[in-house]
């Protein structure tokens, strides 16, 4: 009794310790959350301020009312009597940053690559898992072997090759190579190995299904979860792929969102802070929104060991 008074109930003590620990962890997590969110918040806030406001007070913390105005400059939709300087700024930004076209191009590239990557990776993985052929293990070893080769090591040759094929300023060098995605095949392969019932293929054969049809109508539905996870990562990766896109696309009709952002970053004259932030926000916000909508799915995918670019 006296000991309990002196030291407190062991259970209380234990609880107190956990409480303290939990509080510390909570505080750290909140701080990290702020580190992750504040830049995005400031980005959106600053996109709603004019250049003048930002030049006078760059540390704006609350929303302003100039989002529409900045958007008008960005789309070169300003009044004729706005003054030469502003008209010049508007023409400069709108000439480089055409957000509609950027989204469309990025969507075409990311969409097509995703479909190709997922379909052909599933096909290849399925071929390796279901069929027994002489070069099977050699092919698989090859795919694992090349999985880690960075894209940079072949890019000098890639660009020269594309020049010689006259495929610069063409989506083909950005889309068609997506058919060959070793890392995606690797993950599809391991997921097929562990979950796919081979017997079902036999059953389909007995039913008179052709091999390709079996893959399309029997195997693919079973592979949907794995394919969906890979599709998300393939989409994100290709949407964000500044390096290859910037090598291949030189022509303004082909600009994608990351290239447009990098071009805006290069302006050395007539910089407009508000519009700068707006450009970046337009490239960031849609991704964040889609991410939040799919976050559970994505995080489960990462936990599977999905991606490491």
């Amino acid at each position: 009794m006296s000991m309990q008074q002196q030291y407190g109930a062991p259970k209380d003590n234990y609880h107190k310790q956990i409480m303290i620990k939990s509080t510390v962890i909570l505080i750290v997590c909140i701080l990290l959350t702020l580190v992750c969110l504040v830049p995005i918040y400031i980005l959106i806030v600053n996109a709603t301020h004019t250049h003048t406001e930002l030049a006078e007070n760059p540390s704006q913390l609350f929303f302003g009312g100039a989002l529409g105005e900045n958007m008008k400059i960005l789309t070169n939709n300003i009044a004729e009597d706005a003054g030469k300087a502003l008209r010049r700024v508007a023409r400069q930004y709108s000439s480089v940053f055409n957000i509609g076209r950027g989204y469309l191009n990025s969507l075409i590239i990311a969409g097509c690559t995703t479909i190709l990557t997922v379909f052909f990776s599933a096909l290849t993985a399925y071929g390796l898992v279901v069929y027994d052929f002489k070069l099977n293990s050699a092919a698989y070893t090859f795919i694992i072997g090349v999985m880690m080769i960075p894209v940079q090591v072949s890019s000098a040759g890639f660009v020269r090759f594309m020049y010689s094929l006259n495929l610069i300023n063409n989506f083909i060098p950005l889309i068609v190579p997506a058919i060959a995605a070793p890392a995606v095949i690797f993950f599809m392969h391991s997921s097929l190995k562990s979950t796919f019932p081979l017997s079902i293929v036999e059953a389909a054969r007995i039913d008179g299904c052709s091999e390709f049809r079996t893959f399309i109508s029997v195997a693919m539905p079973l592979m949907t979860p794995a394919m969906a996870v890979q599709a998300i990562f393939a989409f994100v990766q290709n949407w964000n792929n500044y390096y290859t896109q910037n090598m291949i696309l030189k022509n303004d009709k082909m600009m994608t969102v990351p290239i447009m952002v990098s071009k805006v970053l290069q302006f050395d004259k007539d910089v407009n802070y508000g519009v700068n932030y707006l450009c970046i926000a337009l490239s960031v916000v849609p991704i964040v929104v889609v991410y939040l909508a799919l976050s559970k799915f994505i995080i489960a995918g990462v936990a599977l060991g999905g991606v490491k670019e």
């Binding site: 962890i25 909570l26 990290l32 830049p39 540390s59 040759g157 020269r160 936990a303």
Partner: protein, 342 residues
């Protein structure tokens, strides 16, 4: 007996489908990856700029590695390449260490059943979020937030708080490196954390329970159970991160405004890109770019085989397990007569 016959039939009549199914991958891979790689290899033996079409043997390699070559700037080229290699390592190391420590700490906290943390799911979602954002936009965002003068967000805030001179976050050679490390960590810690979490959750809970009963505190548990059992996944993270580090491009390249690049953030990937992406073929240095690429390829190959050997044991174990499973399935199928019930 039936299964043996079946598999023989399968191997005879269906093998060609195997080749057909994997053919698109190999065709495309050879065309868009293998040939460019060979071509890069060829380019590495050819000259630069006006000399682009002639064969120069190992000149590009001796130039960028030892500073001995035909060009008057051979020594300077070597210095630049080695600096780029050094920068790559420094930038990688400077983001990997804090990233892995932070991720490990968070992963342990998040998987600790005794800790009562509200909104765990929310934290995970937010911490992974930076990883999903376009690196080009991230670079642009940070350049605009951390600009060099008082006309940018962070410096303005600091100077309002009483700091006298603005910090040159973007252009100072040392501070800009730290910035890139920070942003890189910001981008990747959520990803690493979730990977490590799934690794920790794979550890049998009975080990922790037993340790609890034996009176081990959480620090002891971490060093004696979690860390040793996480080793394979840690090695995997380390190697993939090193290979990722060798490719580091968008952030260091765009952080210094693209064209007006600076040596202090020049990584190997930037070096390669900068040399082959300079206008016409007569303005570009394909030879140096090629030689640097092949050197990076060599380094990657070494790192890749390290992971391969580390993961081999696990793979072998997994294969054994899968083989057993397959046998079981076959048996079951044989019993059911075709597995139509699935």
């Amino acid at each position: 007996m039936a299964s043996a016959a079946q598999s023989r039939i399968k191997s005879i009549s269906y093998a060609k489908y195997g080749y057909m199914f994997i053919a698109p991958f190999f065709l495309v891979y050879c065309f868009f990856q293998i040939w460019p790689l060979i071509y890069t290899f060829i380019l590495s033996f050819k000259g630069n700029q006006s000399n682009y079409d002639s064969f120069v043997g190992l000149d590009n390699y001796t130039t960028i590695l030892f500073g001995q070559g035909m060009a008057a700037g051979a020594a300077a080229t070597k210095a630049e390449f080695l600096q780029a290699l050094g920068n790559t390592f420094v930038l990688w190391f400077g983001n990997f260490v804090p990233q892995i420590l932070l991720s490990l700490l968070l992963a342990v906290w998040f998987t600790d059943a005794k800790v009562k943390l509200p909104g765990k799911g929310f934290f995970k979602v937010v911490m992974y979020m930076p990883n999903i954002i376009t690196a080009a936009s991230v670079a642009a965002l940070y350049v605009n937030l951390f600009g060099d003068s008082e006309y940018y967000f962070v410096n303005s805030l600091l100077m309002n708080a009483g700091m006298a001179d603005p910090i040159h976050f973007v252009t100072d050679p040392t501070i800009s490196k730290i910035m890139v490390m920070f942003i890189q960590t910001w981008l990747w810690f959520g990803n690493t954390m979730i990977m490590l979490m799934s690794g920790i959750m794979g550890i049998s809970p009975s080990l922790f329970e037993a340790a609890d009963i034996d009176g081990a505190n959480s620090t002891q548990q971490f060093f004696n159970i979690t860390l040793p059992l996480l080793q394979p996944i840690m090695v995997y993270t380390l190697v993939t991160s090193m290979i990722g580090g060798l490719q580091m491009f968008d952030l260091p390249y765009l952080f210094h405004n693209g064209a007006q690049f600076s040596r202090s953030l020049e990584t190997v990937a930037v070096y390669i890109y900068y040399n082959f992406n300079k206008g016409t073929v007569e303005q570009a240095s394909y030879g140096y770019a090629g030689a640097a690429s092949i050197i990076i390829f060599g380094i990657t190959a070494i790192l890749g085989s390290v992971t391969f050997y580390v993961n081999r044991d696990q793979d072998a174990a997994a294969k054994k397990k899968q083989r057993k499973l397959a046998e079981k399935q076959q048996k079951a199928r044989a019993k059911q007569g075709g597995g139509l019930t699935i």
